[in-house]
């Protein structure tokens, strides 16, 4: 399906990120020949990560080493990767759609004047063309896209869309010095954990979470009531936190906490990917939503369609009855 494929690796705290392995898995799936799958990593003192990466990239790994790339800055990443992609002749450049990728990948596309397909969920082939699938209209529709023109295509892959296969083994690592000539990176002042608050949701066995569909701050009390009846904790998707209905430390998802309770009850949560990545690992998921087509029903074990104002009080009642029985 595709010839030369380059995967841009990402790492933090001395480990390759899971999405990098997912991107390599995608690359190996779409490659005509696994030997054409190579990877690039930037960093200082990351030899071990480059070796690990090489076991995934039969076409070899290029490690750009230097103090300029010890910490990520978009200025240096775009310069180094832009030059390298041009030189490598890669047809397809894949990376995981992390927040870091969201920050620099579009700029790289502009530098290369290349097609960019962000947050892709599947890659298919249609004759000799690749078809990239991504969500549009707030996840309501799948768009099947093709790219036009010569040169590299840049594609970032949605987290979880390509479950990692095993490493095929076989690549070699080549080290290169960073040439960030003339580039002055931004001045990073601090990198700190976001607000976590008093509630560590990752320890909770039962979580009841509310979304935009709950309606307003007053109605959000229903979420607390059901959590109390079940002896669970209260979480939320992004909109209730943005709107100030609940504290932001309750946010579950890519910008908040990642949880995996035994039971997760999603009330009025439509199921945006940013939320799903934070709760997908739950053992049992119950979704209650007014919209029968809400994407959350594709994640849930059990689904209930209807008005929260009617269903939640009935649930509280049923939970209490079962506890008394």
């Amino acid at each position: 399906m595709a010839k030369k494929i380059l995967v841009v690796a990402e790492h933090r705290d001395g480990a390759l990120k899971g999405i990098t392995k997912e991107a390599l898995t995608a690359a190996l799936q779409v490659a005509d020949d696994a030997a054409e799958v190579s990877a690039v990593i930037l960093g200082q003192g990351v030899d071990a990560l480059a070796d690990e990466l090489a076991s995934w990239a039969p076409g070899g790994v290029v490690l750009f080493e230097g103090s300029e790339v010890e910490q990520y800055t978009p200025e240096v990443y775009v310069k180094v990767l832009g030059d390298f992609i041009k030189e490598s002749g890669a047809e397809l450049v894949l990376t995981g759609n992390s927040y870091q990728a969201i920050d620099y990948f579009p700029r790289l596309a502009a530098v290369l004047d290349a097609p960019l397909v962000p947050d892709c969920t599947a890659i298919e082939s249609d004759g000799d063309k690749l078809v990239f699938v991504r969500k549009v209209m707030n996840g309501k529709l799948d768009a099947r896209c093709t790219v036009n023109g010569e040169g590299p295509t840049l594609v970032s892959l949605q987290q979880g869309a390509f479950p990692p296969s095993g490493a095929p083994g076989g690549g070699a690592v080549e080290k290169k010095a960073v040439d960030a000539g003339g580039i002055e990176p931004r001045k990073i002042l601090s990198i700190e954990p976001g607000e976590t608050g008093e509630v560590d949701l990752s320890e909770a066995e039962i979580i009841v979470a509310g979304g935009r569909g709950v309606g307003d701050e007053e109605k959000f009390k229903l979420v607390f009531d059901l959590a109390e009846a079940l002896g669970g904790a209260v979480g939320a998707s992004r909109p209730p936190c943005d709107s100030g209905w609940v504290e932001s430390f309750r946010q579950i998802g890519s910008s908040g906490q990642v949880v995996a309770p035994k039971l997760y009850i999603a009330l009025g949560i439509s199921g945006a990917i940013q939320h799903l990545v934070g709760m997908r690992g739950s053992q049992c998921i119950v979704a209650v939503n007014r919209d029968p087509n809400a994407p959350i029903f594709q994640e849930a074990t059990y689904g209930l369609v209807g008005d929260l104002a009617e269903i939640v009080p009935a649930l509280i009642e049923a939970v209490k009855e079962s506890q008394e029985a």
């Binding site: 700029r107 960019l116 969500k135 309501k140």
Partner: protein
Amino acid sequence: MKILCCIKQVPEKDARIRVASDGAWIVEEGISWAISECDRYAVEAALRLKESIGGEVCVLSVGDDKASKGIKEALAMGCDRAIHVQTDAVARADAVTIAKVIARAAKDEQFEAVFCGVQSDDLGYNAVAPAVAELLGARHMQIVLSVEPVGESALKVSHELDNNLIETAEISLPAVLGVQTGIYDVRYASLKGIMSAGSKPQTRYSLEDLGLSEAELAPKVTIESLAVPERTHQAEMIEGDPATMAHTLVEKLKTQAKVL
């Protein structure tokens, strides 16, 4: 400071989206349109920066008549003037092509701070701000949580990284920032704002006015088809009146899923 904010009109969040007969776009008639949620925060961020440091805020939108409504609302919120690139031609375009139109319309004005929403509610590329920055030769930051001026020539900006980390950096101007939702209480238009919006200056361009060549505007990514996502997994749907549903669910959670 010369400040720009970029907005896009998109289908309202609750709009019933249907695929058009060509299979490659949505039925635009009969649905409500609104400023994309993140972009409202971009307008708010732009207005707050002006209020703290002085200057003017220009709002820019690319689109047909629907965009006029968004521009009017942004002017009513407090923007001083507007640039409207009147075209429907890039509605389905990729992020880099859209960025080229925005950058060309903004270039001569030499804005010092440009605010975009981090992601639009329609195509959701999450990509326009960094691409605009490249084309304007400006610095950028994406997924922005807070902005404060550092003198006249830099901004102190915080943004989200993965693993719930927040990075704060000082970036020199000009800069393009992709603003995240939820970071401020976004103001509503005041009555006075609404009254004065109509008389604020608007510059209107066509794509021809901007002098973009056909090659520059040729889409790099084509949407071949749109479809309701195929269901790979579907929840077991529990039906009945609320009390029946509730009892059935609790029973299943106890005996089937064994989580209660």
